[in-house]
Amino acid sequence: MSKLLTRRYIDQIKVMFGKEPAKPAEISPAAQTIHFYKKNNRSEIERLKHIRAHETHKSHKWRNRRWATLIFANLLFVFSYWLDIQVLEGSLTASRFVGFHMADLNSALQVMLAHKHIITNLVIGTATVLLLWALLGGRTFCSWVCPYHLVAEWAEKIHLYLAKKKLVTDQPIDRRLRTVFWIVFALLAVITGYTVFEAISPTGILSRALIYGAGLSLLWVVALLFFEIFFSRRAWCRYACPIGLTYGVVGILSPVRIKYKLEGCFHEGDCRKVCLVPHVLDTVIKGRAVEPEVPLGPDCTRCGLCVDVCPTGSLSFEVKGLSKLL
């Protein structure tokens, strides 16, 4: 990775913790050339290409794959218990996959901080999951496994419909809040000795509700969805959830990510409109790409919505190292 890209990536890490994305101070000559030619240089042929791209491009490929994976993973938990097939026992907070321990990183962290005693099985489970998501992209957990992500995605559709009808407006909230929550819940676990966050984690609540049956705690999930539909779009995942930040940090060095190619981009921002975390797509704004190819920041959930929506194929999944290897 070039020095500029590294600097940009470090900036993106800061953005994950809540910093507002800013214009890059320096842009590579190669990228500058492309930026220059894009300026006031749109030919008639390009315009026609543009229109055609929008006409032919309607894809839900990655969304469908992701939903299938998410539903499959959660059903595997459910059926392992209901049908006693014992492949994936437990729930999302901790489980055993054909006997191997797995522990959700944030839940495990909360337990370790609250209980202040760690047994071997928990260490094994945490290490396994850490390695797994470090390889698969950190916040990939959010969009590909977390059941709350899916229901929130559906609630988001309602929100966007109501917003189109001008019945609601999206009220943005300070993104630094998530970092504050992460610290506060970690401190609460240490001080109170209770896993305070686990009591309100919609991921845990939903996972248990699916496997062991619904309960009153679903009311909390409903309240969150209500807030997201009528008040602030995807508020929990965007501004509150410490699990997302934990996995985001894990994903900093992950090889799986979305890559942006400057050359073909129309800079229309369709990708930013569908994105859960639009600040990672700051790079696609006209004049902000520091290199002809820029990987997105670690806060990206690798959900692929931007890949689906991009009419020019300027955004794509990339596995670092693998493409070089092939």
Binding site: G90, A94, R96, D104, P172, V196, F197, A199, G204, Y212
Partner: protein, 289 residues
């Protein structure tokens, strides 16, 4: 910004950031701060409300075998329910929102379904990934006086096995004859029929019927001269006995006596045919001689 703070000469610019801020922008900024405070308050309020049930709780939950003391149990449980999944009689349930921080934490409602050790090996302890349920407590956690069992409990169903004991070092609670006035044995009465009626869903292992598979209690009717169900079905050797005595009317009666071997599994509470149960488990109770 930090430059401004350190600057000792009075700054001529009115705005701190340097760029002029429009009134609309400033209003939007204030609103954003308010919304942020709202979400902060909502989430933290919801989180900390988990304290309330703990403060106000009068009754104590019966926890699965091998559970740490309540406070440690709540802090170490990762709420995954693996203990629920391995229990052959489905005795373990996960608590709901009303338990506050205890939401998603396992408990046993002995009257509905007691732990009868059908698994032979306290599987739930084996399944626990965080050591919330444990065979042996770590050194830094003290054992409450009277909570430790004098010896490993002997499981009657395993009496003929080379290893007849259960790997349990502490009790879950202690059985107590809480309503002696309604106890059939104390009244000198017998019992005929299904212990908990035909609609009772609970299951139990009857070694004489099937050594391995638990069957519904409703499928196993009784016909007893003098009710001795609590002693008869107790899975632990030497935990309950009946002390016979003659009442003022000359009838033979019996008093259930709970001994130190009692682990607090709750089978006596589940099987007791009176409504409500005459013998119940006092959860997390210690043995007092």
């Amino acid at each position: 910004m930090s430059d401004n703070e350190n600057d000792k000469t009075p700054a001529p610019e009115p705005a701190k950031g340097g760029a002029p801020v429009s009134r609309e922008r400033a209003r939007q900024g204030r609103r954003k701060v308010l919304r942020t405070i709202l979400l902060t308050g909502g989430v933290l309020g919801a989180g900390l409300s988990g304290y309330l049930p703990l403060v106000y709780s009068r009754t104590h939950r019966l926890r699965p075998p091998g559970a740490l003391d309540e406070k440690d149990f709540l802090s170490s449980c990762i709420k995954c329910g693996q203990c629920v999944q391995v229990c052959p009689v489905n005795a373990i349930k996960l608590a709901d929102l009303t338990d506050g921080f205890g939401v998603g934490v396992p408990y046993i409602d002995a009257r509905e379904q007691a732990c009868d050790f059908s698994c032979d090996a306290v599987q739930c302890i084996l399944a626990c990934p965080t050591g919330s349920l444990t065979y042996e407590k770590p050194d830094f956690l003290p054992v409450r006086e009277g909570a430790a069992l004098a010896q490993k409990p002997t499981l009657i169903a395993k009496m003929n096995d080379p290893e007849p004991t259960l790997n349990m070092t502490e009790r879950m609670g202690v059985a107590r004859l809480t309503r002696p006035e309604s106890c059939l044995a104390m009244k000198g009465e017998g019992f005929k029929g299904q212990a908990r009626g035909p609609d009772f869903k609970g299951t139990m292992r009857y070694t004489k019927v099937d050594r391995w598979k638990p069957i519904p209690v409703a499928d196993h009717p009784y016909d007893l001269e003098l009710c001795d169900l609590c002693m008869r079905e107790c899975p632990i050797a030497g935990a309950i006995s009946l002390e016979k005595f003659t009442g003022p009317d000359g009838k033979t009666r019996a008093r259930p006596i709970v001994h130190e071997n009692c682990v607090g599994c709750g089978v006596c509470e589940m099987i007791c045919p009176t409504e409500p149960a005459s013998i119940t488990i006092v959860a997390r109770e210690v043995w007092k001689s």
